[in-house]
Symmetry: C2
Subunit: 560 residues, 2 copies
């Protein structure tokens, strides 16, 4: 990417997070220096076989590492911080700036990866932040489904860039302090915002914004009428949801128990930082301690809202949890939305609960049991009206959400030509010469697969798909190095091939091998590659015709 932006302009590149939901990572450049905002992961879809995580493409940061000042984190969700350890492993030591709870989560994460010594962690709060190279920072408290979320304003000599992070407006605080600083946003707007980068997740949703406090009221109603134990599953970082559940349980004369590793870790960090506020004695530490209470005086808060196979609720539903058994009088509350792609897994959990006899409650049957942390179109309009940006780029969303957000921006008064639905890799330059996409950096998907990063080639994924569909058939043939003749019977090894037990077919396969090798007799084994190609084609064609399958055929010709 050349040339480096001047003092009178700012450049923004999404390395992940536009045209998709997940793996947010945005580069902001000015006067030859750069900061990265967020560094998140996505979980693979079913087509990405064997992949553990999907990361942003770090290539551009690697190539320009000498110009990187710091990574700024807006909040602690995995799609905003999850890739940080991999970035450190790729580019080395980093300065990382973020709100307190986020830094707490990142510290724990880096510790797990044994990378804590490589990162300089720096907590920031609302208001003026550190000056980072040519960027004077300012942070604004906003509301989202995790505590301690900050929008970031980067003041530069070219103008101010605001990145909202994920947000909604919620004027009813669950914690003690107001959750969105509208006045600070209005002041930023009054002083002038050149470019706004804003969360597009719920831009299509015309519904009125809903307060998190309403979920607390709904939980109280459910507990008051539940015939027995109440089991609540939600996202493990949704500290205020957990706090409301524990408080509601306490007020209803129930004790709470938290189940799930990530939930206990996150609540532990929040408690240590004084972010979580629940009555003393309202939580029992060990599931075993629940036995001291009748079922209708118990609440369990647990992981598994997405049907994750190893999560607490999923194991309970399968009857495989060592400490908790589902009772027919239990009411299981899904205080969560189902992330697209997880529908079948969540449904499986529900059906297992039903077979045990338990009741279940979902947002479909009880809409008040969950509210989104992302602002609907009304909130996005508020943000646009408060900041009145000259240029705007809808980020954090798929193409459909970005377009809907663009339509809102235009309706709020931003000139249509000044709104950019950028894709990952597009280089958006904004400054005294106007705004435009000046370049496109090739960016791809980076996979975490086992211990490796980024090492799953397209070919590897294609082979996995091939073997997943039809399996593999390995042909081992020993041939005489003198005359190219077959020695002994060829060996056929099948894995994942559904006709492997068909004796007749296997005999036919051996025959095809013999014929193929006999055919290549004259040219002998001078060119093993040719022989193997012929062998492959002969066997693959025969198997396709006979079985309708196209297993991966791998001929191994050994000379003896």
């Amino acid at each position: 990417m050349t040339p480096v932006p001047t003092d009178s302009s700012v450049r923004v590149v999404a390395l992940g997070g536009t045209g998709e939901i997940g793996r947010n990572m945005y580069v902001v450049e000015h006067a030859g220096r750069m900061v990265v905002i967020d560094c998140g992961v996505t979980f693979p879809n079913p087509d990405q076989l064997g992949v553990d995580l999907v990361l942003p493409d770090f290539g551009y940061v690697e190539d320009n590492i000498d110009r990187l000042e710091a990574v700024i984190l807006t909040h602690g969700h995995e799609d905003h911080i999850g890739a940080l350890p991999y970035l450190v492993r790729t580019v080395g030591p980093l300065r990382v700036v973020g709100p307190r709870f986020t830094i707490g989560l990142v510290r724990s994460k880096l510790d797990e990866h044994r990378l804590l010594d490589k990162v300089e962690l720096e907590e920031v709060g609302p208001g003026e932040g550190p000056t980072i190279g040519p960027f004077r920072t300012e942070f604004v408290r906003l509301t989202h489904s995790i505590p301690d979320c900050l929008a970031v304003a980067l003041h530069t000599s070219a103008g101010t860039v605001v990145h909202t992070g994920d947000f909604k407006f919620d004027h009813v605080p669950v914690a003690g302090t107001p959750t969105s600083d509208v006045a600070a946003l209005a002041k930023l707007g009054a002083d002038g915002v050149m470019l706004l980068l804003a969360d597009s997740t719920c831009a299509e949703d015309p519904a009125a914004p809903q307060s998190e406090a309403g979920v607390g009221r709904e939980l109280r109603r459910l507990m008051a009428t539940a015939p027995g134990r109440v089991i609540i599953t939600t996202f493990s970082s949704h500290i205020h949801r957990v706090q409301q559940a524990v408080q509601a349980a306490y007020d209803d004369g129930r004790v709470s128990c938290l189940l799930g590793r990530s939930l206990n870790r996150n609540v532990g960090i929040a408690t240590n930082l004084g972010i979580m506020d629940v009555p003393p004695g309202s939580i029992v530490k060990k599931p075993r301690d629940l036995e001291n209470y009748p079922l209708d005086e118990q609440v369990i808060i647990c992981t598994g809202s997405q049907g994750e196979y190893m999560a607490a609720l999923s194991r309970m539903a399968r009857g495989e949890h060592h400490q908790v058994t589902i009772h027919p009088t239990d009411t299981v509350v899904f205080s969560s939305r189902t992330v697209p792609g997880n529908e079948l897994a969540v449904n499986d959990t529900i059906n297992r609960l039903v077979r045990i006899g338990a009741s279940f409650v979902t947002p479909s049957s009880h809409p008040g049991i969950h509210v989104s942390g992302h602002g609907t179109s009304a909130d996005l309009m508020w943000m646009l009206q408060l900041l009145r940006p000259e240029y705007m780029a809808p980020i954090h969303g798929e193409a459909r959400h970005q377009r809907a957000h663009k339509q809102l921006a235009v309706r709020s008064g931003v000139a249509p030509d000044n709104v950019f639905c950028i894709d990952n890799g597009d280089v958006l330059e904004v400054g005294d010469r106007g705004g435009r996409v000046v370049e496109h950096i090739p960016v791809g998907l980076t996979y975490v697969d086992g211990l490796g990063i980024g090492d799953v080639a397209d070919e590897v994924m294609r082979d996995r798909r091939h073997m997943a569909d039809d399996g593999v058939v390995i042909i081992v043939a020993t041939v005489d190095v003198e005359n190219g003749g077959l020695i002994g019977d060829p060996e056929i090894i099948c894995r994942g091939f559904s006709s492997a037990d068909d004796e007749e077919l296997m005999a036919e396969t051996r025959l095809a091998v013999e014929r193929s090798l006999a055919g290549s007799g004259p040219q002998r084994v001078d060119d093993l590659t040719v022989v193997q190609h012929q062998l492959h084609d002969a066997v693959a064609t025969m198997l396709k015709k006979r079985t309708g399958h196209r297993p991966m055929v791998l001929p191994v010709v050994v000379e003896a």
Copy 2:
């Protein structure tokens, strides 16, 4: 299953369709004879790697084929007729009874499978049907999202069994005739229904029933305001939806064109049978003919509502359709619900349309654009009130839907102990000795995989999953038959293994092979299995440690 039911009782076994949505197949037995109601397929979920279709377990029918009188079909959806060709291939010639349009679809399907001569097809209409062994049949017209749906009553000396098929009540006919024969149901109820088997799909849904005619009105509104072409995607067998779209287009001064193989086949069959009624000249046959009309005088009706990769809309969205290119002024209407599991594929289609600039309409944004063919709880209550069965089994649904339906049945007055949420394989006996599940027949999943039926063993599926996750590493080692020593370098073949390009790792693998074979030197190659086991463990352990992966390791030791 012994003993065979007596003249004073009836037995019902679901071979597929309970505890799940899909592959409906119910056996009804009386006086030693049996009929099968429906014979459908399910499409595989992403875990069922490489599987084309999932069938009911035919084992029980195979074992009792001499007692089978006929297969009765209630309507023509794939989850009710799709497995018929495979049943014929498994058990031989059959008598098949069903409504006219269903028989038309089945005829076309059997013809494709070249099995038409094996099946005696018999059309039935509403009213008295043939007597089939000890079963006197009676059919009642009901409404669903495909024309020509019949509930079936089996009158026996023990009492009457009613199977609803899939249904809702819709008193506003799209076609000329009333769509549900309420009077016939009331008469059945008055004469006495012993056992009701009824569709549970939407039992959880408290919404008021909605008429198909309303969709027609919504389509008219959309066409009246659409700036350009309107592209409508829906289920290919939903003839009345297609008819309404074509009529709305005609009234708006547009021509229609149908795209998609299954859609054209189904509409062709419906037209030949006089079931589809559209104005002459309202449909152009060839997509090319659309070029004679401006965009805003065109409607395209096409397949692809589920994001199926090869369907017409999916190919248009990818820019890979040979005859139709999406325009930015196009409005694409998803007149369909998204079947669970297809969410990501449908969303991908939508995002591709957005990138081209087209508008889209879904039931989320326009609820009137689709109505379900399954009755909500109000309709199910109507059915229960009309038939007043003594015993009831909720079928056609997952455990959650069956339980919700049971609750409705109990509220309608059926004794709680007389409602049976059966699972596939449960043998429900109802008669003069009351009703109870007397036995459970083991039933499994039968897969269609390539040309084979039922031949995907659990082990094959496990191997596919293993290779899909981590690939395969094949070790070819040639050893001296005399002393067990390695001859030459071992060959390493990797497929789907993401570290295959790591030269250092490959060298280390070869070293592990050499060490393992050297270690097995003394015992020589007397026992090749032991040598291969050791080789497998040595390489697998090393690869796991170095890469975090567990590829399938296949050692091939060749003696020379």
